[in-house]
Amino acid sequence: MPAEILGLYNYWIVIVLMMAGLYVVIASHNLVKKIVGLNIFQTSVFILYISMGEVEGGTAPILAEGIPRYANPLPHVLILTAIVVGVATTALGLALVVRIHQAYNSVEEDEIEKAEDSQP
């Protein structure tokens, strides 16, 4: 049983992080906090991929003499680019929040909806 727990511990934490992010995205009314929630969700996916690529007794995938086993390089490539794309899209989300604040003077969903309803 301990082997079972240790073997799946990474994935369970990933699920906890993912659900924490999802909860923030659904439950919070604040647009900035929603983006923070998306970021937590995103990082949990990164950890999922990198955990799957780890190989017992392996090392970083840089070829050298006398190393029997390497970690899987493919998830590293995918996640490396995803992180940089992720910050660019986060910036896009934050820019939208700034513009929404300029238009409605609020970043709280309920207040924005109220302002929408009161407009003709």
Partner: protein, 335 residues
């Protein structure tokens, strides 16, 4: 063992972020969360990923969020109500996912399906085919060169989007005299990161001295990561974000105006496109030389030398686009 401790800390921080309502604290914890996950990536042998996450998550993303908070100053606390329905949704989804993990191959299993397809070829043949010891670089730049070109394009697209949203409507169309929106009437105050942290930072002697000492080394390290990425951990994405982080540190402490004198927003904007153009240009050059798009082998008489040249050029293009995009984003969010 270390990874278990780090993972547990990550879960604790994520739950703290969920509970906290003070947005400033939430953003700072997010930076800490990213730094911890970067440490975790080192333990999991993903050194290239760790570089990027440390520079992006703990540095640039946190600065951008602080910049946003500075611009929406006023009420940095969130409202919340009826959290039970979301909680139910999250618990059911989480339970289903948890059930799904029971069939997953265990952590570190060398015979997991993910390690058996394509990857043995990368590990066994990449040195002969590409001639680059860092497998991550050869997969990123050569085997999956199309994919990376696409990712770089997404970064350019996101930068264009942010510029379109935040650059303001300075162009006055003659004839249309719309009354200025109420938000434009407000007296212009220092806003963004520099506004939030106060311009007082420009007078902190200790910060000045430390930054002057650190910035050259950070920039030098970024260049090392850029051009040594074939042999050690590194490459265009990592170098780009590290270079940008060093530059942003300068901008934070000496003021955005001083940073603008070093690299004007217009120059930076050109560089974003120039990097991607270099990348795609290498692809076109290989086609003109009779190869396929992004097949670097035709760039030189020996295929391995051609691969090396091609990878160096496109990594330089990626680094330019990434660094310029991050600096441009910093300028936009700190105005």
């Amino acid at each position: 063992m270390i990874d278990i401790v780090l993972l547990s800390f990550l879960a604790v921080i994520a739950l703290a972020i969920v509970r906290l309502r003070d947005l400033f604290a939430v953003v700072m914890l997010t930076g800490f969360y990213s730094l911890l996950s970067a440490a975790l990536f080192v333990v999991l042998d993903a050194v290239d990923v760790a570089f990027t996450e440390a520079a992006v998550g703990a540095g640039i993303a946190t600065i951008l969020m602080l910049g946003t908070l500075g611009r929406i100053a006023g009420e940095p606390r969130e409202h919340r109500e009826r959290p039970w329905l979301p909680m139910l949704v999250v618990l059911i989804t989480g339970g289903a996912l948890l059930y799904g993990t029971l069939d997953m191959p265990h952590y570190g299993d060398p015979n997991a399906p993910v390690n058996l397809h394509v990857v043995p070829r990368y590990i066994e043949d990449s040195l002969a085919e590409i001639g680059v010891p860092n497998i991550v670089t050869s997969v990123l730049a050569s085997y999956r060169g199309y994919d990376t070109l696409g990712e770089t394009t997404v970064i350019l697209t996101a930068a264009i989007g942010v510029m379109g949203l935040l650059q303001g409507r300075r162009r006055k169309t003659p004839g249309s005299k719309a009354p200025p929106a109420s938000s434009n009437k407000r007296p212009r105050r220092a806003s963004g990161v520099t506004g939030m942290l106060g311009n007082t930072m420009q007078h902190h002697l200790i910060l000045h001295v430390i930054a002057k000492l650190l910035v050259p080394f950070i920039l030098l390290f970024a260049l090392y990561v850029q051009f040594h990425g074939d042999f050690g951990p590194g490459g265009g994405f990592q170098a780009g974000v590290i270079f940008a982080a060093g530059f942003i540190l300068y901008g934070l402490i000496f003021g955005v105006n001083d940073a603008g004198l070093v690299a004007s927003p217009a120059t930076v904007r050109l560089l974003i496109a120039a990097g991607l153009l270099l990348y795609a240009g290498v692809g076109v050059a290989t086609m003109l030389l009779g190869g396929q798009f992004l097949d670097y082998s035709v760039l030189s008489t020996e295929p391995i030398k051609g691969q090396h040249l091609g990878i160096m050029l496109i990594e330089f293009g990626v680094g330019t686009t990434v660094a310029a995009t991050m600096v441009r984003l910093f300028y936009l969010f700190s105005r």
